[in-house]
């Protein structure tokens, strides 16, 4: 149910969920440019299984909102072709767990079209895919494999964590003249509502967002985990620990400057992500922070992440997904320099 806060057709401010703000951004972008074309499985008549594209077919017609045959390789492949020939396709992959068939097209073509033609052809496409766990979904519907894309030069990987950022970042992604993988944390599609102004204002794609200021510890996260991270920060504040919370938002290219500046101030850093730990984006952030602000670190950089296991079916998913308690414990350990489990902080005297 959309609540109108201010009824000004030019600049409507509505209280929206993330999925509604995704729909609003798509609507705005399609109104703004005739080149914007939506395609995917069940996106037109049905409006998408999560309703992200609801009513767009009725408004913009069948040529601009297209139900495709069920074939992810083809969806990504024709998007590359459409993008190279003047359209701005926004393709939906119904769940990230089914995106792997599209990898060759995205890695071998979307990411490289501009470079391999020296800018003669470009690939302004957006691939939208809901991702992440926590909604009791069947097998293959809960993984967070954003690091696969973050490792590919030429792709932008963007993950919103609030309705407002979903609106602004999706507009940027569609307006970008380069390919963007836009991963939507489906657990928080309808978790909160916030005021979103439908003014067409976009948000920068390679910039982190500081959601909370603090002097004691930097918490770095993205996507649905921002919820737990913010709750942990609030809980820690009550214990006298002030955390700075950074929403990375664009995990590739990644804005290390904002993170490094924060860690230089706080001297401590904990990275929280849903994805498996090894070779995750957290590892990259940890390495980069170490390289740049090592002398300022008061304790080792830590990570609270999913385990290096197959994402369990939903009976056990809550043991896999990082919790507020795990984040708080990690921060407390870091502040107190107390060893957690096997992670003994080593103080080497030179």
């Amino acid at each position: 149910m959309i609540q109108l806060v201010k009824n000004d057709p030019a600049q409507e401010i509505k209280k929206l969920t993330m999925i509604e703000s995704v729909n609003l951004a798509l609507d705005y972008a399609m109104t703004e440019s005739e080149a914007v074309t939506i395609l995917g499985e069940d996106v037109a008549v049905n409006g998408g299984v999560f309703r992200a594209t609801d009513n767009l077919r009725e408004k913009f017609g069948v040529k601009r909102v297209m139900d495709t045959p069920l074939a992810e390789t083809m969806i990504a492949g024709i998007s590359v072709g459409m993008a190279a020939q003047g359209l701005r396709p926004v393709a939906e992959i119904q769940f990230m767990g089914f995106i792997y068939a599209a990898l060759e097209q995205l890695i071998a073509h979307a990411a490289r079209m501009r470079n391999r033609t020296r800018g003669r052809l470009t690939c302004p496409l957006v691939i939208r895919a809901p991702f992440g766990g926590g909604i009791h979904a069947p097998e293959h519907h809960s993984e967070s494999t954003e690091a696969i894309f973050a490792h590919v030069p030429g792709l932008r990987v963007v993950i919103p964590s609030s309705p407002k950022r979903a609106y602004g970042l999706l507009l940027s992604a569609i307006r970008s003249n380069d390919p963007v993988i836009f991963l939507e944390p489906k657990r928080i599609y309808r978790a909160t509502k916030s005021h979103v102004m439908n003014d067409g204002e976009d948000l920068p794609l390679d910039k982190c967002f500081i959601l909370r200021q603090g002097a004691d510890m930097t918490l770095v996260s993205w996507g649905a985990m921002i919820m737990e991270t913010m709750q942990a920060a609030e809980s820690l504040a009550k214990q006298g620990v002030q955390c700075e919370v950074i929403d990375v938002a664009s995990i590739s290219p990644i804005d290390f400057d904002t993170i490094a500046t924060s860690v230089r101030k706080t001297g401590r850093c904990c990275i929280i992500h849903e994805a498996a730990r090894s070779c995750g984006v957290g590892a990259e952030i940890s390495a980069s922070v170490s390289e740049t602000v090592f002398p300022y670190l008061k304790s080792p950089i830590t990570r609270v992440t999913g385990y290096d296991t197959i994402m369990p079916y939903f009976k056990n998913e809550n043991y896999y997904l990082p919790t507020v308690e795990r984040i708080v414990a990690e921060v407390v350990a870091s502040i107190k320099l107390i060893a957690m489990g096997k992670k003994e902080p080593k103080h080497v005297s030179l």
Partner: protein, 375 residues
């Protein structure tokens, strides 16, 4: 019981001995076109041999020969109009040449430079596609863009018969039927996918019959017969222009050379098979036809070879003298503008370039101002 019947036609006009098996249809009767086709095929075969020689002498990277495929590429190149979009694979030298891709650009591509895909004369065509069958999806995307924009043009993609085993091919074929796309798919069935022969690739009698499953027209033509390929491609394009949907053309030929210069086909196929295939190759039969028609002679051929060799040498010179892209170009065309997070790596490369023995000047690029202005 109800029975549905499907059929696949096979077309050939020009026999291996240069005689006609049936009279030529109207759209391939122009003698000037036939003469130009022959000259193009001879030119491209000579260039192909030169490219292999350049690779053997360390002046070119791995190169895939087009030996025996000249009729297919030339017929496609003649049939396409400038407004159509071509999505090649990597054995499409003839079509690309006729589209306006310069020999220098072709050499630059196989010589290891991204400059080779800039295509000054056919700016909407896709670049050479190495990942198998993926280009078919791109052509379908181009066809969708044409439909959306109300343009009565067509997209044409080529691939080898090996590519028809891949999902990209089948998914594109399926979509082309479901959406009636202005798309032409030409399969160069040259019997070999590196060492995998046609009979292992697919159990169907023809590749063309895969079209039946997608609800589009499929046909087989003699890929060594310029007239047969030209007729089929022209018809398919006309059909696409008039909104009547897609066509799959299987052009049966033979890969007379190795897969690429990195391959040695003698490891997996008999010389006797190759010898037989040479009897059917496309250039000899067209030459005989033109001589029979008094459109060509041995004296003209000698003169033409001289001309061709001069042009090839000019292209090779231009290629060898081309200034390489700056090392920074790897960043310059990654995104429209260099993202701030990559500026440090850009500077790192610039610092490294100072110590690497590289004749390229760095004047054209500087940190933070890398803009892709080509489009």
């Amino acid at each position: 019981m109800k029975t549905l019947n499907f059929s696949i036609s096979y077309e050939q006009f020009l026999r291996p001995d240069g005689s006609l098996s049936s009279s030529l249809p109207e759209n391939v009767q122009d003698p000037k076109k036939a003469l130009n086709a022959y000259q193009t095929m001879v030119f491209m075969r000579a260039f192909d041999a030169k490219a292999i020689a350049l690779q053997r002498t360390g002046q070119l990277g791995t190169y895939p020969s087009i030996l025996g495929q000249e009729a297919i590429g030339t017929a496609i190149g003649h049939a396409l109009s400038a407004d159509d979009v071509f999505a090649p694979y990597y054995r499409d030298l003839c079509t690309q040449f006729l589209r306006g891709v310069s020999l220098k650009e072709t050499l630059l591509y196989w010589g290891g430079s991204e400059k080779g895909s800039q295509y000054e004369n056919c700016s909407n065509d896709f670049p050479i596609c190495v990942p198998i069958a993926t280009q078919l999806c791109h052509a379908a995307g181009a066809a969708i863009a044409m439909k959306t924009q109300g343009l009565h043009h067509a997209a044409l993609a080529t691939c080898g018969e090996g590519a028809t085993s891949k999902g990209d091919f089948l998914e594109t074929l399926n979509l082309a039927g479901a959406w009636q796309l202005p798309l032409v798919m030409v399969v160069n069935n040259n019997q070999w996918a590196i060492s995998t022969p046609r009979q292992i690739q697919c159990g169907a009698e023809t590749i063309a019959q895969k079209a039946i499953g997608a609800g589009i027209e499929g046909l087989v033509v003699d890929g060594n017969d310029y007239f047969a390929v030209s007729h089929a491609v022209q018809n398919a394009l006309q059909k696409a222009y008039s909104g009547k949907g897609a066509t799959l053309i299987e052009a049966v030929s033979y890969r007379l050379g190795d897969h690429t210069t990195a391959d040695d086909a003698s490891r997996y196929r008999d010389d006797s098979e190759v010898k037989t295939a040479w009897q059917n190759e496309p250039i000899k039969r067209l030459k005989q036809y033109l001589i029979n028609q008094k459109l060509w002679s041995e004296q003209q051929e000698l003169k033409y070879f001289d001309k061709v060799n001069i042009e090839i040498n000019i292209a090779v010179e231009a290629y060898l003298n081309e200034t390489p892209d700056t090392p920074e170009s790897m960043f310059d065309h990654l995104f429209e503008t260099l993202p701030k997070p990559l500026e440090d790596q850009y500077a790192e490369l610039q610092a490294q370039s100072l110590f690497v023995d590289n004749p390229v000047s760095n004047e054209t690029s500087s940190k933070g101002v890398a803009h892709d202005t080509a489009r």
